[in-house]
Chain length 296, copies 2
């Protein structure tokens, strides 16, 4: 409790001293790709197909998009995510939208890259449920329609490794970004992009401490200068926050301030990119999903 | 056995007498819509969202597209289809591609329209698993983002009925067609659209009896003049077919004929339409899927 209170005081001090210095940044037009996995259109297109292909799950029913549904918010709208056979995990799926602008992946930030993240759910029992990566790779090798693309992008099909699959999926995920919000336009110089109310909300967003965690172009603490993620205690603020600001005493002008914050937050929503459905290669005449759904 | 043989003889007779008269038809550019559910762009767009929305299933994990995956062959590539909680039915999902060109729906043709078909899986226990249609409608009513569209298309949101949902989904499904194959071009007068080999295969396709069942522009027995479906015994041909044509005696020219038929059948594949991902309205801040996945 003492520690939390101390942290909060420190936070307030930092926030106040940097109030004017807060630097707003617009969302970049592309995600920096690691040198070991450079972006190329063919790789992105292959990754898109793999992202949408439910055959990467044991039962042939759960794709990456099942839980990270980019038709909706990039997640699944469930309290906890559900994988094969109705199994649920302990957490819900984080959004994949703008995930490339994070310094770490998974809710607990336990891996550094989209590549490393993408390998996990494939072999997680309550997610895509493959017994091991080799089993998933063998499934992919049974789809002749993937041969040409893997050959073109990675120079092999019969000998593909899980890293190839991960690199293609990560390359596609780096395209799932939403620059072009009204906020982005404002930061880039279009003063008319934000209403006076939203500008008040923007000032408040900094003033009351939101930017302590939600800073940077993606409002997730990430900046392009970051090499490693920074981890902080969660929850960042405890009930002392409520007491200190007497949030329950008198809503007063807060009612107006809430509207200003909403106006500002609404301006952060970038346009939904037009994404065409991939054509996943089929293997007509036979099913590569066994009726028993069991590993061999 | 006698009956089958008799049928086969009849078939051969009919086929030979109509060899020249066989009328090839190209796939129409649109599916005739029933007068009670005329096509309109807003209805199609709403139906597209509903078709892709997994919240129409009890667990929030199975959409129409889960089993009728239009990114692939319009089906799910499984031996039998899998719905919520890993449950499987007795059959696999028929393709939704060009389903509007059928005189009946489901493998046993038990309903006449796409509208009637679309209502079934929503409340089928091993498919989308909703306890009843009203439960599904209440789920939809919990998504504010659907309000404006239902209001615009059907004039109501609070009082939507399952027929509205079915009509929108069916309207979208009537756009899932693949005209423009090389066969279509050939039938419409472009003599260069089919190779000599494919033209031989086309003649064979009629001559050996394929068109007995696979006639009409969609090769499913349907023509635009059909008012009711015609049901025939299945399998249509039994082993007497093998004996009559001595199929196992000497493959001889059949090896060449198989190539011709393949060349012809390959020409039936129409272009994969470019379909952009719908944006399914989200309900941020709360999940409308209960953790227990149980009906109230």
């Amino acid at each position: 409790m003492y520690r939390s209170l101390f942290s909060l005081l420190l936070v307030v001090a930092v926030t106040q001293s940097t109030l004017v210095a807060q630097t707003w940044q617009s969302l970049p037009d592309n995600v920096p790709a690691p040198s070991a996995n450079l972006q190329m259109p063919e790789k992105v297109e292959l990754g898109k197909k793999l992202f949408f292909d439910p055959r990467l799950s044991l039962t042939g029913t759960v794709s990456c998009n099942s839980c990270h549904n980019i038709m909706e918010g990039g997640d699944d709208g469930r309290p906890t995510s559900m994988g094969i056979n109705g199994l649920t995990g302990e957490r819900n799926a984080p959004t994949v939208w703008n995930a490339g602008f994070q310094a770490s992946q998974f809710w607990d930030g336990r891996v550094a890259s989209l590549e490393d993240q993408s390998k996990g759910p494939i072999v997680a029992a309550p997610e895509m449920g493959m017994p091991n990566h080799e089993f998933a790779l063998e499934r992919i090798r049974q789809v002749p329609g993937y041969k040409q693309e893997f050959q073109q992008v990675f120079g092999t099909f019969d000998s593909i490794k899980i890293d190839h699959v991960a690199e293609a999926i990560a390359a596609f995920e780096r395209t799932l970004i939403t620059p072009g919000s009204r906020f982005d336009d404002f930061v880039e110089g279009d003063a008319s992009a934000l209403s006076a109310e939203a500008q008040q909300g923007m000032r408040l967003f900094d003033e009351i401490g939101c930017t302590e965690c939600h800073s940077g172009p993606a409002f997730n603490g990430w900046t392009s200068q970051d090499e490693a993620p920074e981890f902080v205690e969660f929850p960042r603020f405890d009930s002392s926050h409520v007491e200190m600001y007497e949030l329950k005493k008198d809503r007063g002008r807060f009612e107006q301030q809430v509207q200003q914050l909403i106006a500002f937050l609404s301006s952060l929503e970038g346009p939904f990119p037009e994404i065409t459905l991939p054509r996943i290669p089929s293997n007509p005449g036979a099913s590569i999903i066994s009726e028993s759904n069991s590993a061999p």
